[in-house]
């Protein structure tokens, strides 16, 4: 089962400048290359230990993450302690969980009572949740070793991870480029060999887009498949938690660990979770792949188009039939999304009142400034100004939120508050909800004819950091191929399907009908087996 691919050896030489015959080092390095499923087997066979594995990944983080910046926090001691416990229990022959001893990175948006949960925001810089999110609880119950918390766009708003209040994350394939976002840290740490598995969240493409730009596998499950309890909310009708990994098999393993009904999330689906990892190797017979006419339009990079069309040819060579379909409302998806998501965000983020938890502005300075404003207005005899002057409490809210939130979060709160405000609610929010249904109906009709829809993940490979900094609308349009799955609640997966001439990964997106994760994973696995894109790794230097 263990791959000793040539490029893996070359990769090790590039990175470490060592030869594979330098065996100890090689072995610990190769631990960084194996898939999670292979690592589990090595653990079960006693060929490595949880501690050795955790140490190998912690060393990799130490060596590489100063360049990449995927982790916000790593607690090496806690990870080793946890790994020791698992090794001890394994030694005693105890029954262990599904991920026993595997390092897993978690996006800093899922509550974990043992660490801070910041959402990459000043607002939550010192927030320690009093409870575990269901996903984190399930990972702990599965005996995973949680090695660190990954960087993201603040409150998951963005597609480049540049909106993090704390640090920049770089694409392991080209350090001048974005890893994508908002789960940029989650994708970069897997691509950079710093975690075999990682958890992200996807509200408009935030798992699939960074997975595509970093050349890893990323999956957004059906809305309701994974519990949102303890997930810090961005847009509640769109948010979904999902896996990022080096292979579809690993993604299947991680998904079946975190999925399932949860009474604490009223929107979670009370439907049994199939054992995805058990069926993933079964090829789909008579597979019908749909390609969407509207997807291959102006703005799509020629190399991305070629890679995706080649991927579709691979499916044809595997016996699938390919059918062109239409999703007539797809051109409205981004506009619909940028009404619904900010509206829900403005409502969800109203909870950051600087009273119960979160950042609060300096009280004395705030009151002093307010008093000075009052005096100025009084001197000027400005009664209207005095009447509209903030009360101390309102000023505390406004000042704290102004200092605690970054520019993109403010922009979305403002946009959402506007589209929900009196006079505009019907024109924007209600209208968007209606178009949302039409988008869903397009998919329902399409899935009468095809089993999976294949498309690009993004129109371009990873862009340069800073390239979109002053252009929020262009940044929003990056979500073109991914937002529909969130609006319609469908599962979608991104997997590597090629490289640009500049050496940047290109992703293939597959989408399935609601609860079609099993078909999606089996379909993705077929492609992965027929090609070797998933096995390419970036050459990182020390």
């Amino acid at each position: 089962m263990l791959r000793a691919a040539t490029d893996e050896v070359i990769w090790c030489r590039l990175f470490w400048g060592v030869d594979r015959h330098n065996s100890d080092r090689y072995f610990s390095m190769s631990l960084l290359e194996h898939s999670a499923c292979e690592l589990l087997q090595l653990l079960e066979e006693g060929k490595t230990s949880s501690v050795e594995l955790a140490q190998a990944y912690l060393d990799a983080i130490e060596a590489r993450d100063s360049q990449i910046g995927s982790f916000l926090r790593v607690d090496a001691e806690a990870a080793i302690r946890r790994a020791e416990q698992i090794d001890r229990r394994r030694g005693k022959g105890e029954q262990l969980g599904k991920l026993a001893g595997l390092p897993v990175a978690v996006k800093d948006v899922l509550c974990d009572r043992e660490t801070k949960t910041t959402c990459a925001s000043r607002m939550l810089e010192s927030f320690r949740p009093p409870y575990d999110s269901t996903v984190v609880a399930k990972l702990k119950a599965a005996d995973a070793v949680l090695i660190g918390r990954t960087n993201m766009d603040e409150f998951a708003m963005g597609g480049s991870t540049e909106n993090s209040a704390f640090q920049v994350t770089r694409n392991p394939w080209d350090l001048e480029r974005t890893p994508g976002g908002s789960s940029g840290g989650a994708a970069a740490c897997v691509a950079g060999g710093m975690a075999p598995l990682s958890i992200g969240t996807d509200t408009g493409g935030s798992i699939r887009q960074p997975a595509g730009l970093c050349g890893v596998v990323g999956m957004k499950p059906t809305y309701g498949r994974v519990s949102r309890f303890g997930l810090i909310a961005f847009a509640s009708s769109l948010d979904q938690v999902g896996p990022l990994a080096r292979s579809t098999q690993d993604a299947a393993l991680l998904l079946e660990t975190i999925a399932g009904h949860d009474p604490q999330d009223a929107t979670s689906l009370d439907v049994a979770v199939p054992k995805y990892s058990a069926t993933i190797k079964q090829p789909l017979k008579n597979l019908r792949i749909g390609i969407v006419r509207e997807h291959f339009a102006e703005g799509l990079d020629a190399e991305v188009e070629t890679a995706v069309r080649d991927a579709i040819k691979v499916y044809e060579s595997l016996g699938a039939t390919v059918k062109e379909i239409s999703l007539p409302h797809s051109k409205y998806a981004v506009a619909t999304y940028y009404v619904i998501a900010p509206s829900e965000a403005s409502s969800n983020l109203a909870r950051y009142d600087s009273v119960h938890y979160g950042y609060r502005t300096d009280r004395a300075a705030m009151l002093k400034e307010l008093e000075e404003e009052r005096k100025e207005l009084e001197t000027a005899g400005d009664q209207a100004g005095l009447n509209s002057l903030d009360s101390p409490l309102v000023r505390m809210y406004r000042q704290s939120r102004a200092e605690g939130f970054g520019p993109e979060v403010k922009r979305r709160i403002m946009l959402g508050a506007y589209t929900l405000s009196a006079g505009y609610y019907d024109a924007y929010y209600l209208k968007a909800l209606k178009v949302r249904r039409l988008i869903r109906q397009d998919f329902d009709a399409a899935f009468e004819e095809v089993d999976l829809i294949a498309s690009p993940v993004t129109a371009q490979p990873a862009f340069k950091l800073g390239a979109m900094a002053d252009d929020p609308l262009s940044m929003y349009l990056v979500d073109l191929y991914t937002v529909s799955a969130n609006l319609a609640g469908l599962p979608g997966i991104s997997l590597p399907c090629g490289f640009s001439s500049g050496g940047l990964p290109i992703g293939l997106q597959l989408q399935a009908p609601p609860l079609g994760e099993e078909t999606l994973l089996r379909g993705a696995y077929m492609f992965e087996q027929a090609t070797d894109w998933c096995r390419r790794r970036p050459s990182l230097e020390r």
Binding site: F127, R128, P130, Y131, Y223, G224, S237, P263, A266, T267, H329, Y332, A335, Y338, V339, A350, D353, V355, H356, Y357, R360, R363, M366, L367, D390, P392, L393, R395, M396, Y397, R398, Q399, R401, A402, K410, R411, I413, M414, L415, A417, Y418, T419, S421, Y424, A427, Y428, L430, K431, L433, K434, R436, R437, L438, R440, P472, L473, Y476, G489, L490, P514
Partner: protein
């Protein structure tokens, strides 16, 4: 619908955000640009279409009415920016 700077100021109060002059300026033009893009939705015929609030329309989810432990006071106050050990402290609401 044109978005004015006055609208932006009003919304900033509704959203409990204090924005600087420079932010009001930038946001007015950025939001106007985004809104004009969103106006694209106006061309879709949605006559008779039911709004879809959730992707998976689950309704009437009931939970059994039983008492379960909730956060104790100490935990609930642990993250408060200001508390006296019994409750949250805020600037004076009445008078001064």
């Amino acid at each position: 619908m044109a978005l004015t700077r006055k609208d932006v100021e009003k919304v900033s109060l509704l959203a409990r955000l204090r924005l600087s002059e420079a932010e009001l300026e930038t946001l007015s033009s950025e939001l106007a640009q985004i809104i004009s893009y969103i106006d694209l939705l106006g061309e879709v015929d949605t006559e008779g279409v039911e709004p879809m609030a959730h992707a998976v329309e689950v309704s009437n989810v009931f939970a059994t009415d039983e008492v379960k432990p909730s956060l104790d006071r100490e935990q609930a106050l642990a993250n408060a920016p200001s508390s006296n050990g019994r409750g949250y402290l805020v600037p004076p609401v009445l008078g001064s």
